[in-house]
Structures are given as structure tokens and as C-alpha cells.
């Protein structure tokens, strides 16, 4: 009991943000409920993002109604590879990545061979709300796959590595990269066994990496030295985060960014209640950072200026 209190005290001294504190002191305060709809719907988010020149995967089409599911083949005609995702999904739920479509069979990124019936079923599940928050009716979004950059080739097992930027009041506050492992089954969520790599906000270089809350230095499946990781186009990553603030008005958000071989960093989605695992990946408390931004960072700067401020700090 006393050791718990001691640990809690130390965590507090290290500025670690707890779930209750995040909900009460940050989200409730800086994220207006009415703004959630902007990020809950990926189609909407994509449109908004394109308006202010944030790069996102190109949309191939959307399926809104059950009767439109039959059009699926027509929509993806000419595409060898594409992604189907629920517009209201979260945490990568219901995302189906088709790596190869030969006009008959669909080969998923997870290594499955699917028939049209399987894919049809997936879309129809999506529409009926299986993957959306609260099970409400959803829309299936079909977009181009990301040709993920070779830079990260050895750092991720199967799935696409993504960069999560926590943006507080428009300033990139903390960043991590999430790498898929064999265990995480192509997904990059940390609680499912993904590797979290804390990145230096100023440089995009590895601070430390964790697997299941424990520090690691090499990727468990590929053996890549995680300490060598350096994200290219770093400024662009931060800029996407800063712009996401301008676009949504959310004081506390998490922008998920992937790197495309040809198109550079692209925003996949914005999260209005980003989790706290990023602190473990960084080995640092988030509260200290938020406080720093609250107290010393100037207000009224443009997104570009904010990014430069962070980079030159």
C-alpha cells in the first residue's frame, strides 16, 4: 500500500499523465464535444484535411448503403491494391488491406485469400456498424493503399508502421512510432503486442523503444536495431500534426501519420482521445510537456511557426 503511494508520488513528480487526469483536466477542458464529429468520420476528416493541404491516402470510393455493396467490384476496378475501412472505426478495427486483387481473389495484407463473398461480408458488416463506436450504422471507405516507405522496411513485421503525434494547443508535444510485430498480427497497437518507439520531437530520432511496457533495443521479429530509427521528412510530420489542430480545433489530439514511398507523410486519422501509452514509449511524462506548452509557448502563431518553434526550441 505504502509502496503504491510512493510510486504514485514519483509518477506525479515525473509528470506522468493518468487516465483520470487526461479525461478531466485535458480532454474535457480543451476538446469540445461538438468537434468530435470532425474526427469521428474519416470521410469528413479526409475532406477537411484535403482543404488545407494535408496529405491523406486518396479515396477510391465510399459505400454508404447495403444495396451499393454490389458496386464494390466496379469501384475497385483497375485497382490492384486498396484498403477498406469503416469511416467511424477506431483503433484499426475493421480495416481490411487488400494487397493484391487479381480480378477474382483478394489477397489481404494479413496473408488471407478472400473471395468476393468474404469481402462483401466485410463491407456489409462495416455498414451495419460492427466496427464503429457504439455500433451505429457506418460507411465503408475505400482508399488507395499506402506504399510504405522502404526506410521502415526492417522495422515492422507485416503491418504499416505509423507515427503518432500528440498535439497540444497546436504544438507537437510528444511523438512515437508504432511498429507491428508477429504477435500484434500486423496491427500496431501497443496493447496488442506492437513495439512503441518514442521519438525526439525535434529530430525524429529514437529516444527509446518498448514492448509490453518494457524497454527493448531490437525489433523482436526482424532484429532491426530500433535505436537507428530516424523518421525522414520530420518537419512534414510535425506540420501535419499542427495543421490537424487548425483543422479541428481540438486542443488535445493524436494525429496518425504514415510515410508513403512516393507521396511522403500522409495523415491516416485524427484521434480526439489519444491514449497514454506514448509516455511509456518515450519514458517521459506527458504532463510535464503540456505544462511547458501551457506556460512558456507563445500563442497566436501559425502552424508553420509553431512547428519551427518546436524544432528550434
Amino acid at each position: 500500500m505504502f509502496s503504491w503511494i510512493k510510486v504514485a508520488k514519483q509518477l506525479s513528480e515525473n509528470g506522468v499523465l493518468g487516465m483520470n487526469d487526461r479525461n478531466y483536466s485535458v480532454i474535457a477542458k480543451y476538446n469540445k464535444r461538438s468537434l468530435y464529429t470532425l474526427v469521428d468520420d474519416k470521410v469528413k476528416t479526409k475532406k477537411l484535411a484535403n482543404n488545407i493541404n494535408i496529405n491523406t491516402p486518396r479515396m477510391i470510393g465510399i459505400i454508404e448503403h447495403q444495396y451499393e455493396v454490389d458496386n464494390l467490384l466496379k469501384i475497385v476496378e483497375g485497382y490492384q491494391t486498396f484498403v477498406i475501412k469503416p469511416a467511424h472505426g477506431s483503433g484499426g478495427k475493421g480495416v481490411l488491406v487488400i494487397k493484391n486483387y487479381d480480378g477474382e481473389k483478394f489477397y489481404s495484407a494479413a496473408g488471407e485469400v478472400l473471395t468476393f463473398k468474404d469481402v462483401y461480408q466485410h463491407v456489409s458488416n462495416t455498414l451495419s456498424g460492427l466496427f464503429s463506436l457504439g455500433g451505429r450504422y457506418d460507411v465503408a471507405l475505400i482508399e488507395e493503399t499506402v506504399n510504405f516507405s522502404d526506410v521502415f522496411k526492417n522495422f515492422s513485421y507485416h503491418g504499416i508502421p505509423d507515427v503518432r503525434v500528440i498535439v497540444y494547443k497546436g504544438y507537437p508535444a510528444m511523438v512515437m512510432m508504432r511498429l507491428a510485430t508477429k504477435e500484434s498480427d500486423g496491427k500496431a497497437n501497443l496493447h496488442q503486442g506492437g513495439v512503441g518507439v518514442g521519438l525526439d520531437v525535434k529530430t525524429g530520432e529514437t529516444l527509446r523503444a518498448v514492448l509490453h511496457n518494457k524497454p527493448v533495443t531490437i525489433h523482436p521479429d526482424t532484429g532491426a536495431n530500433l535505436m537507428d530509427l530516424k523518421v525522414p521528412y520530420w518537419r512534414e510530420h510535425l506540420l501535419i500534426g499542427a495543421l490537424a489542430y487548425d483543422m479541428t480545433g481540438l486542443g488535445y489530439l493524436g494525429a496518425d501519420i504514415v510515410s508513403d514511398k512516393n507521396r511522403g507523410p500522409m495523415m491516416l486519422e485524427i484521434n480526439a482521445r489519444p491514449g497514454l501509452a506514448i509516455q511509456i514509449a518515450n519514458g517521459k511524462g506527458l504532463k510535464t510537456r503540456l505544462k511547458e506548452i501551457d506556460e512558456t509557448y507563445p500563442t497566436g502563431l501559425s502552424a508553420e511557426e509553431r512547428v519551427d518553434y518546436v524544432l528550434n526550441k
Partner: protein, 512 residues
Amino acid sequence: MTIKNLFSVRKVLSYLLILSIIYASYRIYYKVKYWGFSISPKEVTDVWKIDARVSFRPISDKVHVVLSVPNENENFNILSEDIIANGYTVKQDRKNNQIIFDGKDKEGKQTLYYRLNIYEDIKNNKLNKNKPTNPERPILSEEEQLQMRQIWDLAQSHEGDKVQKIIAVINQEITNPSISLVLPVTHTAKDVAEKIIQILAYKRIPARIVRVIKLEEGKKTEKPDIKLEAYINNSWNLYDLNTGKIGLPKKWVIFQRGGVSLLDVRGGENSTVMFSVMKSVATPMKMAEYRAKANNRLGNYQYSIYTLPLLEQNTLKWLMIFPLAILVVVLLRNVIGVSTMGTFTPMLLSMSLVKTGFLPGLICFSIMIFLGLLMRALVAKLNLLLVPRISFVVIFVILLIQGLTVVGYRLDSSLVSSAIFFPIIITAWIIERASITWEEEGARNTIKEIFNTLLTAIVTYFVISNDYVRHIMFAFNELNIVIMFIVMLLGTYTGYRLTEITRFASLVKKDA
């Protein structure tokens, strides 16, 4: 401290919490004191039924019967009185504590009943504390005066107050000539009491005879016991005629005070009064109305939930336990940090466990979840749409409940038949969610989630199934207001959850 600080959400809620605690404490005190509510659910109040049966044989056309009855007592309150006297006009004389029966043209053996239901009470009824006028010194002969003086002289060597001294003298020095002279060899308690009153009157101390009945189950007696009351040190004290002990012992009830006889029958002969005592028990809650009435707090009581019909009361009793269950869930989720399936699912499960009993419910629930998951896994292959699929699970659960209940009934096993008490929709959703979690996040996470949900339900169950807790939450329902503010205050709790302490353990400074 600025004004703004003083009125922060947390502060205001704290003030309200404190106020609600004060209010609840006052109400608890009030209910215990004036309504007789008890903290323990097992406590019962003894209700004594005293029957006084008066019988006599009339010898003239007009019969006039006067029976002395109790109306004020130290340890008891009157629950109800009942008089059975067919063909008599009955008059209650409250001032002299008498019941007067008048009859005309009666023949044969007459029987009148006076029934009294009394219960022990916490509060003390105010006794007649009026200062009496001191009695006149009795007119005595020379010889008698000498006896009196001798008795008072003898009394000096005994312990206690004046009355106790005299009682001691009478009892212990019975062979002393001055005593044996005033008391006949064969004497009744009444004789003794009357003599003592006389002796006390010599010193102008007011005293009177008190007739008391000891409450013993099944007791039948023709004669109440006699005690003595004397006015000493500015108050009336009751004395035992044998020991001189002051005060009325528990389970004794004063039937009549003063010298008048207990029963007075004019126009009749062979009159007797037979007392019989019977005991029954009632819960304090059943007695509350009488207590409230006796304490002049009836108006307040009538607007409480305890005057509702029993059916409504039982429903409310069931509802009253919800806030506590909610509090447990809030604590487990926001302070401990247990993640469960659905916010109130564990609470509803615990409610079912209360109805089914712990082990049978748990086993039955596990069977249902297991079979449900099995069925759901088979159906997954059919690729049904979401709403029809969950509907299928709901129907399957209903069929499962039906089957288990029948099987349980046939096997006479409460283990299986308790299925009927589980909420269908909740059970169905648990199955559906568990199966999706299984597909997406693997068996480990699913089992962990089910385990967490059950754990929360079990903890909640143990809190709400406790007899004391349920009784207290119902009897002192103001506590729900306290719980409401605690829950609201927890809504501002920004400290770490207990599970976060292990989750973030790696963020503790290593050098610390």
C-alpha cells in the same frame, strides 16, 4: 485563497458532500431516536400482550366496574388497547387511568376483557413528576408514636435513603418487637407497603402503592406485584419492597398507582381479575409508525417510504441498493482502474447474483456464456449481418434460459435453474462482445475482459448482498444522497488509477 478557488467544482461538491453527510447523520439519529429504527437488520422489538380478564357475579340490576389500567410507563409504550365487554357501556377515564364499565340487568357469570399491547421503547416517557403535597402526619396514639420513633431510630443504622432504611428495617428486623408490633404475623406485600407508607407519613414523606406486572411469556396471575413509590429528593422513586432497590427493572410494567384498588365492582360479588401475559416480536420497522405516533413525529413519518404498501416498499428496497452498487463500480473503474465490458454490466450481473445465490448464479452464468460463445462461434461462419446476428444471440440466450430452467427444475438443481434471473440482453451482449474481442484481440484479452467483468460483479455482489448493508441503505435511505455526491466528487478525481501505477511503473525515476 481567492473567491474562484473557494467555488471550484471540487470545493462546491465537497461542501455539498459534507452537508449531505450532516443531513444523513441527523436523519439517522432522528430515525433511531423517534422511529426506533435499528442499525442491525436482525433486531426485533418485543411486543407484549397483557390480558386482564375481569369476572364477577352480579347481585343487583346495576353493575359498576372500575378497572385501573396503565397509561404511562418508563420502559413501555402502548401499542394498542382493546376492550371486550358486550352489553356494557364503557368509559375510559384517562385522568385517573381507569376504565369504567356500566351494565344493567346482567345475570350469570360476567366476563370483561381488557387487552393491552405494549412494547419496550428507547425513550423515557415522562412520569408524573409533579411535586405532591406532603401528607398530614397521621393521628397516632401515644403508643403508636413511640413505635414510630423506635422504628425511625432503628432505621438510622441501615444504609440508603430514608425509604430504603425503613424497608431494610421491616425486612431484616422482623423479630424486633417494635416491628412485630406494627406488622401482623401473616402479612401480605400490600400490608407491608401500607405500613411503610404510614411510617413514611410520620415523617411527612409522600408515598403510594404501585402495582406492577412482570412480563413473562405465558404468565398467568391474579395478583400484580406490589412496589412502593415515594417522593424523595424532589422526585418519585420506585422501591422494591424486599430489597429496597430503586427503579423499575426491565420487563416490568406499572399497572396502577396510588391506593385505590385495582378492581372495584359495585353490584357484584366474587370479583376477580386474571392477568395473562403473551409475547410476540416485531421488527423495529413495523413498530416505527407507533413510535412516531408516540413521539408526536407522525406527520414526518407519513411522508416516508415506510408507509407505502409492502410491494412498493420491496421494490424501493431493491432500488435503494443500486446507488451503492454504482459507487462500487465507479470506484473499481476510476480509482482501481479495472476495465470491464460495458459500464454497468457488472452491476446488473451482481444484481442477478443476489437473486440466484452466489455459487449457483456464477456457475449457471458461466455455462450460459460458454454455450453462447460456442454457438456464436458456429454462427460466425454464416456471416450474418450485425443486427440479425445479435438478435440471434438474444433469442439463443432466451432458449438457453428456458432449457436450463426446465433441466434445473427436473434435476431439482438451483445451479441450473437460476438461469432465469439473468438479464437476457446483457447476457447476449456479453456473448457478442466477447466473441468479437476473441476474433480481434485474441483469447487472452477476451478471457481477461470476462474475468474483469466477473470480478467487478463479484465485488459488487459481496457489498450489496450483505444483510446489514441492504438494511441500512433502506432504513437510512438518506445515505443515497451522500453516495450521489461521492460519485460526483469522484468525477473530479484526477489521481492515478491503481492499475496505472503498475502500467507506468517503468516511468519512475530509476535513481529515486
